[in-house]
Amino acid sequence: MTEQSRTDSTDGNKRHYSHTLDLSKGKVEMVHGSGGKAMAQLIDELFLNAFSNPWLDEMNDQACFQLSAGRVVMATDSHVISPLFFPGGDIGCLSVHGTVNDVAMSGAVPKYLSAGFILEEGYPLADLQTIVTSMAAAAEGAGVYIVTGDTKVVERGKGDGCFITTTGIGVVPEGVSMGADRVTAGDKIIVSGSLGDHGVAIMSLRENLTFETTIESDTQSLNDLVAAMVAVVPDIHCLRDPTRGGLSATLNEIAQQSKVGMQVYETEIPVKPQVKAACEFLGLDPLFVANEGKLVAFCPAAKAEQLLAVMRAHPKGMDAAIIGDVIEDDLQFVQMQTAFGGNRMVDWINGEQLPRIC
């Protein structure tokens, strides 16, 4: 959003305060969630200023908008990641990307988001502004608008700085019908790029574990990549972003929902050497590690090469690869031929490999 459009759209409803919000040294206070003037000022000077758009600027308790014809998709995602700032992103952009991607994985074009903030008393307003600015940039980058929101403040010690819940709405284009139950034996499995970047980037900052890495989180919105894919191959059977639980969780979920088996090939699965190395010494399996900017596509074999070419031509799918096949299997097992030559299961992750990753 440009500075010009912000000024134009907020002028009419602008309220006046005796002091401006101290965004350099100020802290979140309980009054910022109390419904009084302090809250109004926080909304005006921080959120409205960053997110400004015609729907939000009306300053109603809800947003009212028209949607184009077609099936409407809605998704919600809460973000509690720790730490709030990490290599390659922060909770702000992550909270936009996460929900935009959840909507986009239906093939839909994401349009509008809501944002709910739970802030901890004492959290620096400067950091909050950084987060909000990052959200605004992510929304602009994804072509979506944050049209309604909510702010609550909890006492010091009862939150962890900032939690954000976003909900997104989008519309599915005509002729697109994806679902986790539509995958059939014979489909090809395609990933859009290297796996495990997000989880390893977060882990590199965790207490007791700090290690130096050049790996950055892959957090990014994928709706433009999805739009390019759908435009060429509308009959993609299913898309899924392999977030928590990584690729293994995604493949197992879909195997069960579509009642099929899967056979993947380790040598075809893109994993950066740095991610492999970090996983090696942390005792993790890259297939279990979370991603925030990758997708897995299942499509008819006849269309797989065409789809792969479209993905590789897009900046967010340059490293896309066909990693395996959907097969018939009553037991719905996901198997992998290892680089070593043997076969093994790719099972669900057990327990928590890494908490609060998104």
Binding site: N208, F340, G341, G342, N343, R344, M345, D347
Partner: protein, 385 residues
């Protein structure tokens, strides 16, 4: 990844596998036990059973520290955190292990106990330094690999004059467990467990060296090939074992010569000897009470011994009657022989010790290998995330 990929090369694997197939005499069977859970994990993770001929069988041994820790000692650790209110520092893989009455360290944490996951015992020491008002206990488990670091932190704590740091010592010894298996009636008398040789420990041997295994090779006439944890190491060791059997040899050979010497790490052994002494006996999950198989902190350092500072209860518990972990840890049975395997015992809901750690035979078999058993009643009840 340099120094790792070299040991996972599929082309070389096929070459070694072809040699094993060519050299293994079809008229006989070869039964080798990999002692270490690390090997068990590698065997399943890389699909090594697929590369072996049908007459070369791997038996999965008891070398998984989490698996062999008896429930009463886990219960005691939970008690330390809950009743004594200490800050209990543990390696991550112990946290989910169910103790008696379905309690675990993770559940104790959820109920308010101060349980911390550490990657190194040095982290536990640091937590004690940073929180002088708290009693910090390090829950020490493991074989000879993790023992020297524990010894070092105890000595470091003494040097620092720490008054709030103790160690709950559960360190166990590999040779004692191998002896126990070789002395078991299943091997010696009944012949239930055909055992032709051992894939010897990797990391343990970097500390104790290859020297302790000569006794087994000579006394029991079982070849031992010490192998690294990479899949090519394991395959090469299997080939070396096949050759020893074919040539009628029972020797200690060292495939892991890039890390293991004859005498091992003398400084590590010295600090262990200075800090710990043998327990007369110690209960192992699966193996039962094994004489002189574990270590305790020497009296001179007793101020750092959690068993001396706190009253730590040791109450025997009964395992699930149908659980075959004991027989599986001794190599007498395989995971698929257990009626609980897969239903209800799974890595999410482990009933027996072999299912709790990824290095346990049942967990490795369940997570990586069960596609081979198409007839299993499998647990399909995972909720969609």
């Amino acid at each position: 990844m340099k120094y790792v990929d070299e040991y996972r090369d599929g082309g070389l694997a096929r070459e070694i596998a072809a040699k094993i197939c060519a050299e293994a005499t079809p008229e006989r069977a070869y039964h080798f036990m990999e002692f270490c859970g690390g090997h068990t994990h590698a065997i399943f993770r890389y699909g090594i059973p697929d590369l072996l001929p049908d007459n070369v069988k791997m038996i999965h041994g008891p070398g998984c520290p989490v698996c062999v820790l008896p429930i009463p000692r886990l219960d005691a650790a939970i008690e330390l955190a809950v009743t004594h209110g200490v800050t209990l520092c543990s390696y991550g893989d112990m946290l989910r292990v169910p103790g008696s009455r379905k309690r675990s360290l993770l559940k104790a944490k959820a109920e308010g106990a101060d349980v911390r996951m550490v990657y190194s015992c040095m982290d536990a020491l640091r937590i004690a330094q940073e929180n002088p008002e708290k009693e910090v206990v390090f829950f020490a488990i493991g074989f000879e690999t993790t023992t020297p670091p524990t010894a070092l932190v105890i000595n470091q704590a003494k040097k620092l004059g720490l008054k709030n740091f103790t160690v709950y010592c559960n360190h166990v010894l590999t040779p004692a467990a191998i002896s126990n298996i070789l002395e078991s009636p299943e091997v010696r008398e009944l012949g239930v467990l055909p055992l032709d040789g051992f894939v010897g420990p990797a990391h343990v041997s970097t500390v104790i060296g290859s020297q302790p295994y000569h006794y087994f090779a000579e006394e029991y006439q079982k070849p031992v090939v010490i192998a690294g944890f990479e899949p090519l190491d394991v395959l090469q060791a299997i080939l070396m074992l096949v050759r020893q059997i074919n040539e009628g040899r029972a020797e200690v050979e060292n495939e892991f010569s890039r890390a293991v010497t004859y005498m091992g790490n003398s400084r590590a052994k010295q600090v262990v000897a200075d800090t710990f002494e043998l327990r007369r006996s110690f209960e192992w999950r699966g193996l039962g009470v094994v004489p002189y198989s574990a270590l305790k902190i020497k009296d001179a350092l007793s101020e750092f011994d959690a068993e001396k500072r706190f009253i730590v209860d040791y109450r025997s518990t009964r395992e699930n009657k149908s659980c075959e972990c004991g027989a599986i840890l001794r190599g007498v049975k395989s995971p698929r022989d257990c009626t609980l395997f897969g239903d209800p015992c799974t890595p999410e809901n482990p009933l027996g010790s072999c299912m709790v750690s990824s290095e346990g035979a049942c967990a490795a078999y369940y997570s990586y290998g069960r596609y081979q058993e198409r007839t299993f009643a499998t647990d399909q009840s995972h909720p969609a995330a």
